[in-house]
């Protein structure tokens, strides 16, 4: 067991930290207020190799380990989890292609994303099918050598800016995955949704009206879409947990900085045990969430089943982030409740981690399903 970072990991983390300090944190409040997509920041992240880093080497990528990616993601989300989501959103849609795409599909859809700044989106959720992916209603009807897709995809991250979508659609009784270029006739992108938090992240509705998709864009065999969509989460959930850890880290840093300097009752705020214990608890919970995250990522990198660990990490890190953001506001007192301090934004941003990429309850169901297969826990 080794807890030290390798020199390469250390270098990567420091590069991400510098980028966060220079580009993300100073612009976080402005993007939160305006809701503007952080295109310039993404462009800089792209230049610095902080986007699309998991694309395999044979297609020109760096094939970054999930563990390394988690460390980078934690740094980015410490600045602003909304901007970090915009930067990292490609991963969720690219992974189905990495997992099940043909060589031709990878060359057509992944390789160009390393040449210029492009976005892609994971279009699975629908108004009537959120956590219960099997309820997806979008249809894909075979017509000659093409499929014709009809349906409504909902809360699609990076949906307005994406060049292509990973779409899950029903082919008969089964679900099948497709790569759908955003320029295909019949694709209508809705307006940006006004969400509680992560305002920099672009979330839209995408409607598919008689969208023709060639058979060459089908991912895997017909009926394999559900498995592909679910397998993707084993790769991405540690990254989502790392994003939540970034929020916890931001909350802890802000609360600590404030408590060390604010004076109450003729002493520093941190001298009050009620406050200092909050900070101790936040630090400990952050470390616990990190270790779960890193283990889930490490297992994936070792090629082992990490479904339970990824679910544990995602659930726990999200809850820790939510409580840390609330405690941060509590440490800041009245100021924590105002928009001029970053605490309220952290509360709004943290909430989504308990919901997207499988709500907390779904994570617990996954953990229980794994427990049911065990005779005893070691």
């Amino acid at each position: 067991m080794e807890f030290n970072l390798t020199p390469q990991q250390q270098e990567r983390v420091e590069a991400a930290r510098e980028f966060t300090r220079e580009w993300i944190s100073p612009n976080a409040a402005a993007h939160d207020r305006s809701g503007e997509f952080p295109l310039e920041i993404c462009r800089e992240a792209f230049k610095r190799g902080l986007m699309n880093s998991h694309i395999p080497k044979e297609y020109g990528g760096a094939h970054e380990a999930v563990l390394d990616h988690c460390m980078v993601m934690e740094e980015l989300a410490t600045g602003c989890s909304g901007i970090a989501t915009a930067i990292d959103g490609n991963g969720l849609s690219q992974y189905p292609v990495i997992l099940a795409g043909t060589d031709d599909q990878k060359r057509r859809f992944l390789a160009p994303m390393l040449d210029e700044l492009m976005f892609s989106a994971y279009a699975v959720t629908e108004p009537e099918a959120g956590s219960d992916v099997a309820r997806v209603k979008t249809t894909a009807t075979k017509v000659g050598n093409d499929y014709v897709l009809n349906g409504v995809k909902w809360w699609i991250t990076n949906g307005s800016v994406a060049s292509w979508y990973f779409v899950l659609a029903r082919t008969g009784e089964e679900l099948t995955g497709f790569i759908v270029p955003a320029g295909s006739p019949g694709i209508v992108r809705g307006p940006k949704e006004i969400n509680l938090g992560q305002h920099a992240s672009n979330t839209v509705r995408v409607t598919l009206e008689d969208v023709k998709v060639p058979e060459a864009n089908r991912l895997g065999a017909e009926g394999k879409g559900f498995d592909i969509a679910m397998a993707t989460f084993n790769h991405t959930r540690p990254g989502v947990a790392a994003g939540a850890n970034g929020i916890t880290k931001a909350a802890l840093n802000i609360a600590l900085s404030y408590a060390k300097r604010r004076r109450t009752f003729d002493k520093k705020l941190i001298s009050n045990q009620g406050i200092s214990f909050k900070l101790a608890e936040m630090m400990t919970r952050l470390d616990a969430a990190r270790f779960l995250t890193y283990k889930a990522a490490w297992l994936f990198d070792q090629g082992q089943d990490n479904a339970r660990e990824a679910a544990q990490a995602k659930w726990f890190a999200a809850d820790v982030a939510m409580s840390a953001a609330i405690e941060c506001a509590q440490v800041l007192g009245g100021y924590g409740y105002t928009q001029e301090m970053p605490a309220e934004k952290l509360i709004r941003d943290a909430k989504i981690y308990q919901i997207y990429e499988g709500a907390t309850e779904i994570q617990k169901m996954i953990i229980v399903s794994k427990l049911l297969r065990m005779r005893e826990v070691h």
Partner: protein, 236 residues
């Protein structure tokens, strides 16, 4: 079209602000946008609007302001010369500019043969009125600058704020451009005796361009001054 212009102006202004102010944060009390570079070596600064004594620290690029104290004794000049002097140029200059636009339009309409000569030499009266308005507004801005410096000395205790530096710089630019425009106007290079703009010679056209550019520039500077002044009074 208008929305595009507004978006472009907003983008230019944002870029300027980012370059000029650097990292900023809002005063937690009055919401005035403060530049982190205005803090002293100990990370302390006093909000010019509400007097909050703020200590700042940057963690992960997030500026965390902590209110340590409130500066209660903040002398307000009894005669309030600065606010009064400020509103004279702000009120008169746009009217002068409107007069110039009217004269410019009349010049072109006349040239196109769409209107005859203005009866009773009304255009020349308008040109003279414009000159008077320019002299009064630019002249009053001298009092504005002087009273502003007085306020800065007493009310703001000579503390350096990005906004006040920009105000001083803009005031000087306003004076210089305004003086140039007045000189051109009074020289007779821009307007003929009829009140119409001179378009009959290259020198006349060049003088017209310089005059209009100076006035347009002054209007932008004045709007900037008014905006900064407003935020210094009201915070947000």
């Amino acid at each position: 079209m208008l929305a595009d212009i507004r978006r472009l102006a907003g983008r230019i202004s944002e870029r300027f602000k980012r370059a000029y102010y650097g990292p900023t944060f809002r005063c937690p009390v009055c919401h005035f946008v403060l530049a982190a570079v205005d803090a002293d070596g100990n990370g302390l600064l006093v909000c010019p609007v509400c007097g909050a004594v703020i200590e700042i620290e940057a963690v992960y690029g997030h500026i965390v302001p902590v209110v340590l104290d409130m500066e209660l004794y903040r002398p307000q000049p009894k005669l309030r010369v600065h606010p009064m002097a400020t509103h004279l140029p702000i009120g008169l200059f746009p009217v002068a500019l409107l007069g110039v636009v009217t004269l410019l339009a009349a010049t072109f309409l006349k040239r196109l043969g769409l209107v005859g000569a203005a009866p009773g030499g009304r255009l020349s009266v308008l040109a003279s009125a414009v000159l008077v308005l320019l002299v009064v507004s630019v002249g009053a801005s001298l009092a504005t600058l002087a009273s502003g410096l007085w306020d800065w000395n007493f009310r703001y205790r000579r503390r350096t704020y990005r906004q006040i530096r920009l105000k001083i710089a803009c005031s000087i630019v306003f004076l210089a451009l305004g003086a140039g425009a007045i000189a051109l106007h009074a020289s007779g290079l821009v307007f003929a005796a009829s009140g119409l703009m001179r378009l009959d010679s290259a020198a006349g056209v060049a003088a017209d361009f310089a005059y209009l550019a100076a006035l347009a520039g002054d209007m932008v500077v004045l709007a900037t001054l008014g905006h900064i002044g407003g935020t210094l009074v009201f915070g947000r």
